[in-house]
Symmetry: C2
Subunit: 255 residues, 2 copies
């Protein structure tokens, strides 16, 4: 009946240099692009490709729209930043499938992996993910705030390096400060914290601090916050260049 | 004095289609390739490029060798699979720098991010990383086994999806079974578990199960094991095709 398809593509950190050939080819086959405006605009495509632009908070409506287009024979690329599976559009599409008509489950749906923001930030800083780590969205739009706090506490107790997505926005101004305060109760204080902003884009910026000193004011919507563990170290450089941040692979008996 | 450099490059899951142009260019500039044999062999390079091949367990010696070559003016690419920052060579290089002569800190060292095994496996399966998640190496070569078990327990308690690297090898045959057994004490039992083997390579294979039923026998050195959380679901398909695995972005008040 239908020969349409949905491909969910993570566009990487920003530069086309960090987009895989697989993702490029998937985008080149699309008849329709669906996504939040800044991502849809980032894709180069001819005038015959239809661009469906939606607001940031409308993930499920956007996913349903993509699935309906595919059912009508269109080849739809749903785009988000970084890796589509890490707080991108992949989960929203399958959530729409689960709650939608049975026929959507027969559609050709593929996910194309990309370089996630946490991997781009890690590479830019050195090797802060050298040990076990976790990735947490600080948004409490889809989970209760006490769950976020409890996850942070357990992650610190486990000795994970913690990567925080969505640390701060106009609508959620206080959560990051509360998260730092909560972590200070569990952590030593000297664990390094990195604010990695817009990595891979022209306005990228890095700021290093510690969990004791870190200020939520240093983050915005484009910032990934990386919180080190006891094995994370700052390597100063004789040349006065920005230090490297890395996490030793070795863990002592206790932490 | 020296104008050499070290670039640490993650080669992605395997296919050149999943290697970014940035990584390709970094490899093309190298005069020397350093790494574990299967990764060095994967790189296409002319006969003028020197290949330094080492055993799997010699990460620090390999890192020191790369740094010495760079000090002698060579442009060295240290290669590993997936993303170099996720249980790859990046941390080992900075560990060697920390413990080496001060002059190594003046070297030009860059890390190029790649598509990690966990992101490739996630995309292949659907969207199992849709919520908060953690990434744990099951190897107890560099950390005590009780630390691994405690991290697993805390991760399950936090409701993280858990990605396990290095689940099983000839030298570590029993750890994965012990990890499953340990997790069964904390988890409900019906949480999905995926065995994603050699994703992105010609011999890729996927097996789905639950934490109650999962057998360590289904994993080998090339397998990434993904353990779902209570919000992870298996979406069956009317066409008899392989189900999709995804984690809902929504978290209820308790877990």
């Amino acid at each position: 009946m239908s020969s349409g398809s949905v491909v969910i593509v993570g566009l990487g950190p920003g530069s086309p240099q960090q987009l895989t050939p697989q993702a490029q080819e998937a985008l080149a086959r699309a008849t329709d692009l669906v996504g939040y405006a800044p991502y849809v605009r980032r894709v180069e495509a001819g005038p015959e490709v239809v661009r469906h632009i939606s607001d940031n908070r409308e993930e499920i409506a956007r996913a349903r729209h993509a699935l309906e287009l595919a059912l009508n024979g269109r080849h739809v690329a749903v785009v988000s930043g970084g890796d589509a599976g890490v707080f991108g559009m992949a989960s929203a599409v399958f959530e729409a499938v689960e709650n939608g008509p049975q026929i959507w489950r027969a559609l050709d749906i593929q996910v194309i992996p990309g370089v996630s923001a946490v991997l781009a930030a890690s590479a830019r800083l050195g090797a802060p993910l050298g040990g076990d780590f976790c990735v947490i969205s600080l948004s409490d739009n889809l989970k209760p705030w006490p769950v976020v706090l409890e996850r942070l506490r357990l992650a610190a107790q486990a000795g994970f390096v913690i990567a925080l997505y969505n640390p701060r926005s106009h609508a959620r101004p206080w959560q990051l400060g509360a998260a730092f305060e909560h972590l200070r109760q569990t952590m030593r204080g000297d664990e390094p914290v990195a604010f990695a902003r817009a990595i891979g884009r022209p306005d990228e910026a890095v700021r290093l601090s510690t969990i004791a000193q870190a200020s939520a004011e240093w983050a915005d919507m484009s910032t990934l916050v990386l919180i080190g563990c006891p094995a994370t170290r700052v390597l100063t450089r004789p040349t006065g260049e920005e230090p490297w941040l890395y996490t030793s692979r070795k863990v002592e008996g206790t932490h």
